[in-house]
């Protein structure tokens, strides 16, 4: 019985291959976008974890030599013998690969025991030695490394880094000193202070070495939000196809029950069927996600490296955390879509009408609760937008706002079509609008998907373009000096400074110290106030003459990140050793950390003996100044000209935007696909609705034209609704999410041209989606239309 019943259920899919395709494609697309984004996130996280686990970056305090000093193995032993539990690290490069030497016996987290590389014996360590790296790096090193060390593959090695015993790496690099010591968290009792044991070394607190994971969180949160949005769009497809398939099989279900298939068996088999389809679609989706992530990952890796200096592997591995979550979400989505229908069937009397309920009838009932839900969610979004705090609240606002808008869409379209109908004069126009309204329930899910896609596009493109505009302006403002020179040590500073003063029109030394001010880790910068600063810097808020006050050591300038985090604004006192008021707040889009900017005299009194690490030079003759500095012994690598810096900075942001841009296009494509699938699956139902009009004297071609126009009308309304929704989205992203994630608020710019293009794209997607079903209609055999009226020829 079970086989026969399954066969009967499956016959539906054999007859409606297109529906089957729509269902599987919808599931695959939804899962694919989700899994793809998750895959990118998982890969990046794994890279950070591997890096943090191996390098101890951000986790441990570190001991490094003071400037100009080196640290020896004897220093390490001295510290160990004084009771300092530290572990030495040496690092360098072989070709492009960063090579890291650790002392495995003392390095933190020694004994997280896992699998052992069975063929790597200890003799290899002491003899030629071993390096561990991921597959890509192994391949790269094999060609570069002729020193006898063997590189073996370790799946979880951080990207582009080879790790080995400190002895092996020291020999490879030809070094006998140590770069840094990791300070273990548990230190024994009675430990003498560092200054007493090794005055030539200094301790860097873990907080000062930025935690890559935290910095990149917001980036990944954005990606995740996108993934979720895409999944929602895909789920609309699944929901509508499953709904349709269940409606169309009411007759079959009645027959099966009448033939004695128990209700429980039937419902179980249908659930099994849905689960099976979900598994197939989900698996396809995971494959799709893999392909997508593999294509996008190099750009994501590039963006993250550029933005945060975080190394992310450029290649993808099949991690269970994302493919399992992809499959789970495919199953869950299908369960949600099918659950309601199965419940209805379970409650349906065996001989209930086999007639599919009219879409319109169902829609009228659901329109009411949709309106109520939209209103409720809208209120939630509004409340959160006004009173919510934190990144999560920002994203919840977004979600509530978007869902509210989607649910409200049919409620908005219905009166629009009713109004148009009432104003229409020709019978054809009246019929067109009436029919458009009748189509609404069948298409509303696809239209909601389109709305979400277009709104997301508008929102993200507004954010990205506002970001780009602000950032470019910021670069022009901040990167005024034509040439930048990095300094290694005090001798070099002493040697080069007179050369710079003589060669350049204006020399801007930059003094830097790390400090904690008002509970926030900040960079304290000391600058020489001059025309460059006075002319170029634009403030978010300022006193009458901020630069005079800074020059006179009577006030400081802070960046927006610090101002917001420490809750200080113009006129508030900054708790330095001698508290000083904020003269101005400057927008700073270049880094995530807070900055306090002082005049150089004040800086020297607070941090005596600091030498400038970087100089900005104003000159019209960049090459000339460069040459003179090189002649004076400056490292050409340490000189960067402004245009290169700008180009690099903009490139970094372009790559970030490329990723979101690609996701945007994919989302829009999925929405277009949703529309196509809805129209195709509705095409059969359309025939009885169109046949009378045809019989009364309309050609199939003109009916088909009207179908295309109808899709266009829908898309136009959706695009119009999407505009305010998208702008709302952008507002939340810029004003709420960005402030929480990056610490600065971006001004919002409007880009009507972009929106027009997006609207056209949405229209294009809808027209394209309507084209195929319309062509099929235009070529529909009259006999198919006539079948509607009678079964007899």
């Amino acid at each position: 019985m079970i086989g026969t019943t399954l066969g009967a259920l499956a016959s539906h899919w054999r007859r409606h291959k297109l529906q089957l395709f729509a269902l599987l494609a919808g599931l695959a697309l939804a899962t694919g976008l989700w899994a793809g984004v998750q895959a990118i996130n998982a890969e990046a996280r794994a890279s950070y974890d591997a890096a943090a686990g191996t390098l101890g970056e951000g986790q441990f305090d570190q001991i490094v030599p003071r400037r100009g000093e080196i640290m020896t193995v004897e220093d390490y032993i001295t510290l160990r013998r004084a009771g300092w539990r530290v572990s030495p690290v040496i690092e360098g490069r072989i070709g492009d690969v960063r090579v890291l030497g650790l002392e495995p016996l003392t390095s933190p987290g020694r004994f997280d025991i896992g699998r052992v590389a069975e063929d790597s014996g200890m003799d290899d360590f002491i003899g030629p030695g071993l390096l561990f790296a991921d597959a890509v790096t192994v391949a790269r090193l094999d060609t570069d490394l002729n020193t006898g060390a063997r590189v073996i593959e370790a799946a979880d090695a951080p990207p582009n880094i080879a790790v080995g015993d400190i002895g092996v790496v020291a020999r490879l690099l030809g070094r006998d000193d140590i770069d840094r010591l990791l300070v273990l968290p548990d230190q024994p009792r009675g430990q003498p202070p560092l200054a007493q044991v090794a005055p030539q070394l200094r301790l860097l607190a873990a907080a000062q070495t930025a935690d890559v994971g935290e910095l990149t969180d917001s980036f990944h949160l954005n990606l995740t939000a996108f993934g979720l949005l895409s999944f929602a769009v895909g789920l609309f497809i699944v929901h509508s196809t499953i709904g349709l398939a269940f409606e169309q099989r009411r007759g079959l279900i009645r027959s099966l029950r009448a033939l004695g298939v128990p209700l429980r068996t039937l419902v179980s088999l249908m659930a099994l069927e849905v689960a099976l389809l979900a598994l197939i679609g989900g698996a396809l989706g995971v494959a799709l996600g893999y392909v997508m992530a593999a294509a996008l990952l190099p750009d994501v890796a590039g963006a993250l490296r550029g933005l945060y200096g975080a190394e992310v592997a450029g290649s993808l591995s099949l991690r269970p955390e994302w493919w399992v979550s992809g499959m789970a979400i495919a199953l869950l989505g299908s369960a949600v879509a099918a659950g309601g229908k199965l419940w209805q069937i379970a409650r349906m009397p065996p001989l209930a009408s086999a007639q599919p309920r009219a879409w319109a009838e169902a829609a009228r009932a659901s329109a009411r609760w949709q309106g109520v839900a939209a209103l409720g969610l809208g209120l939630v979004a509004l409340g959160l937008a006004l009173f919510g705090t934190g990144l999560i609240a920002g994203f919840v606002t977004l979600a509530a706002f978007l869902i509210a808008a989607a649910l409200a869409l049919p409620v908005i379209i219905r009166p629009v079509t009713a109004f148009a109908q009432s104003r229409a004069h020709s019978p054809l126009a009246q019929w067109f609008w009436a029919d458009t309204r009748q189509q609404l329930p069948g298409l509303s899910l696809a239209l909601m998907a389109l709305l979400l896609a277009v709104a997301a596009n508008i929102g993200v493109s507004t954010m990205v373009s506002s970001f780009r505009l602000t950032f470019t302006a910021f670069l022009d403002q901040r990167l005024a000096p034509e040439l930048y020179v990095q300094i290694e040590d005090p001798e070099e500073a002493a040697r080069l400074q007179p050369v710079m003063e003589a060669a350049a029109d204006e020399v801007l030394p930059l003094l830097r110290a790390d400090a904690v001010v008002a509970g926030q880790p900040v960079q304290v910068l000391g600058i020489r106030v001059g025309p460059t600063y006075r002319e170029n810097w634009v403030f978010l808020g300022q006193t009458a003459a901020p630069w005079d006050a800074v020059e006179a050591a009577e006030a400081v300038i802070v960046n927006e990140q610090f101002a917001r985090r420490a809750d200080l604004w113009v006129g508030d006192m900054v708790p330095l050793d001698t508290p000083l008021p904020v003269a101005a707040v400057v927008a700073d889009h270049g880094n995530p950390s807070g900055q306090v900017i002082l005049g150089d005299a004040l800086f020297q009194s607070l941090y005596p003996g600091t030498i400038p690490r970087a100089f900005g030079l104003r000159t019209d003759d960049i090459t000339g100044v460069r040459d003179r500095l090189r002649a004076a012994g400056a490292d050409p690598e340490a000189m960067t000209d402004q245009s290169a810096l700008k180009r690099f900075s903009l490139q970094v942001f372009e790559r970030t935007f490329l990723v979101t841009g690609a996701l945007n296009i994919l989302t829009l494509a999925v929405a277009g696909f949703a529309m196509l699938m809805s129209l195709l699956t509705l095409a059969d139902q359309r025939v009885p609705q169109l046949a009378p009009v045809w019989a009364m004297g309309m050609t199939r071609a003109s009916l088909a034209r009207l179908e295309v126009i109808r899709a266009g009308v829908f898309a136009a309304i959706v695009a119009l609704v999407a505009l305010p929704v998208g702008l709302g989205l952008a507002w939340v992203l810029l004003v709420r999410v960005n402030v929480e994630a990056f610490g600065w608020r971006l001004p919002m710019f409007l880009f009507p041209g972009d929106y027009a293009v997006l609207g056209a794209a949405a229209l294009g997607a809808a027209l394209l989606a309507a084209l195929w079903p319309s062509l099929r209609l235009a070529r529909l055999a009259p006999a198919r239309l006539l079948q509607v009226f009678a079964h007899e020829r």
């Binding site: 009219a358 020709s426 009364m696």
Partner: protein, 219 residues
């Protein structure tokens, strides 16, 4: 004057073993005000003949002329124009446009044909007992009421030729009889020619002329 003329009309449908002839040279003519019952067993070609007459399908050979216009000389759009202007069709079921109200359905074809006369529509609605249902949607009506709407719509367009394919076939006997009475009375008032496909001898007996189709030919 001849409203509908069929001369040696042939029509075949593609089948698994080559074309299956459905109409094998049918000759038929209908003048204004005339009512004709077309009977025949299942598969005799009754409906096909009606579809060909309405320009919904094209004959393979022979002449089909509606109001003197040879359908073979017209393209799809031309045939659609004939359907709008001169012909009205009533089918066994699904005649109505589900998205329009009963009132709008009645007016629809008349307005398409540019012959909308509100008074005429109102009279027809009244005569067919639809006055209270004009604002409803077709799905809210019974089968008999839906067919009455189809009749009202067909006659509101004031067609020269009314083609009906088992218009009462889905109705019970009493309702069918009542609907038929109303339709014949209204057709008579309008002076239109009526060609009605039916398998009921009772219905056929109420028509002016009776043609029996057997195996694709008039007997």
């Amino acid at each position: 004057m001849s409203v509908l003329t069929l001369e040696n009309v042939q029509k075949a449908y593609p089948g698994t073993d080559g074309p299956v002839p459905v109409l094998r040279g049918v000759d038929l003519s209908l003048t204004a005000g005339e009512t004709l019952a077309l009977t025949g067993e299942s598969g005799s070609g009754k409906s096909t003949l009606l579809h060909v007459a309405a320009g919904l399908e094209i004959a393979d050979s022979g002449t089909v002329a509606v109001g003197g216009t040879d359908m073979a000389t017209l393209n799809d759009a031309g045939r659609a124009e004939v359907r709008r202007g001169k012909v009205a069709v009533i089918f066994q079921q699904f005649n109505l446009i589900p998205s329009l109200t009963v009132g709008a359905n009645i007016d629809f074809q008349a307005r398409l044909a540019g012959r909308h006369d509100p008074a005429r529509s109102a009279r027809l609605a009244d005569a067919l007992g639809l006055k209270d249902h004009l604002q409803k949607y077709p799905e809210a009506l019974s089968g008999g009421q839906q067919q009455r709407v189809a009749i009202a719509r067909a006659l509101a367009a004031d067609p020269a030729l009314l083609l009906a394919d088992e218009p009462t076939g889905n109705l019970d006997e009493d309702t069918a009889s009542a609907v038929m009475d109303e339709m014949l009375a209204l057709v008579g008032d309008a002076g239109a020619a009526l060609l009605m496909v039916t398998h009921s001898p009772l219905m056929a007996g109420r028509m002016g002329r009776h043609v029996h189709l057997h195996n694709g030919a008039v007997e």
